[in-house]
């Protein structure tokens, strides 16, 4: 018996579609959008037929569905993740900047501690291997500093970390086992 698909039903469908979409970011963009649209159209058709609750129940979890779509695209087994690599590449500099900034602040507090009206120039080597030396200028007890940029090694570590986090070597065509069509039975 046909059911009326209410706005709340549509919201529930959209929530599931969005949850699925968030887990498909490793797929090519056009494929991800095509899956999203197809699942939405099918869910709305099913909701009109059996009700939104039953339609969503029969679809299963978005996580499991996304895993099956990824298996369909890349084959079963371990694979690369652009999402994990991007997460590492964006969050690690934020964390690193925080700690390097805290280290520079600690040094600055140390050189301004002795007197409120100290003047002079101080040089600090920075966190070994990770950043260039910092120069602190003190004038009337107020400190400013320059330097402390990432070293080339830091950039290398960021790139290597992103590759390792995302297992990106699995995305290399030459390293991947050619995907063969499955036999359809037996």
């Amino acid at each position: 018996m046909p059911n009326t698909v209410s706005w709340s039903d549509r919201l529930r469908v959209e929530w599931v579609v969005w949850s699925l979409d968030q887990r498909l970011y490793d797929l090519p963009r056009h494929t991800r959008i095509a899956h999203r649209r197809e699942v939405r159209a099918n869910l709305l058709a099913a909701a009109a037929e059996v009700g939104a609750g039953e339609a969503l129940k029969r679809l299963g979890s978005a996580r499991e569905l996304a895993a099956q779509y990824l298996d369909a695209e890349f084959g079963e087994g371990p694979r690369h993740s652009w999402l994990a690599a991007a997460l590492f590449a964006f969050t690690t500099p934020l964390v690193l900047n925080f700690f390097l900034s805290e280290a520079a602040n600690a040094y600055e507090q140390a050189i301004t501690a002795p007197g409120a009206h100290a003047d002079g120039s101080y040089s600090w080597g920075g966190v070994t291997w990770l950043q260039s030396p910092l120069t602190f200028e003190l004038h009337q007890g107020q400190a400013t500093h320059v330097g402390g940029a990432y070293t080339p090694l830091t950039y290398v570590l960021l790139v290597v970390g992103a590759i390792a986090c995302g297992r990106l070597w699995r995305a290399l065509p030459r390293r991947r086992t050619p995907r063969q069509a499955h036999p359809v039975a037996g």
């Binding site: 899956h35 197809e38 679809l59 499991e64 779509y69 069509a181 036999p183 039975a185 037996g186």
Partner: protein
């Protein structure tokens, strides 16, 4: 045929079933599920069928087109390609051999069951 099916067995033959259904008639995802359920596979879930269709399309066995729907978003209709027809023929032949082999074993007479305590 409304009893539940072995999920592992079903997984192995789902592609064959989908190819056959789509060879009969071009359909969109939910319609394929309905037809499967109508054929007695009531425990086949949508979440299993949609990725299977995507896999078959990626393997070049299915082609698809979007058809506007009056009751919602455009629906993606699937149909068999030439490779799909070949896969269906090969799969059906493989399944027939499989069934014949299993039946040949199962039709063998069993010796009398051992008696308890003998």
């Amino acid at each position: 045929m409304t009893s539940s099916h072995d999920p592992q067995l079903l997984k192995g033959i789902l592609s064959l079933l989908l190819l056959h259904l789509l060879a009969e008639q071009e359909s969109y995802g939910y319609e394929v599920v309905q037809r499967l359920q109508g054929a007695g596979f009531a425990d086949v879930l949508e979440g299993t069928v949609y990725p299977a269709l995507a896999r078959l399309e990626r393997e070049g066995r299915l082609a698809s087109r979007l058809v506007a729907s009056s009751s919602g978003p455009a629906r993606k209709y699937y149909r068999l390609t030439d490779a799909g027809h070949e896969a269906l023929a090969a799969g059906a032949a493989g399944w027939a051999r499989h069934v014949a082999g299993v039946e040949a074993v199962l039709s063998r007479p069993l010796s009398a069951a051992p008696q308890k305590g003998s």
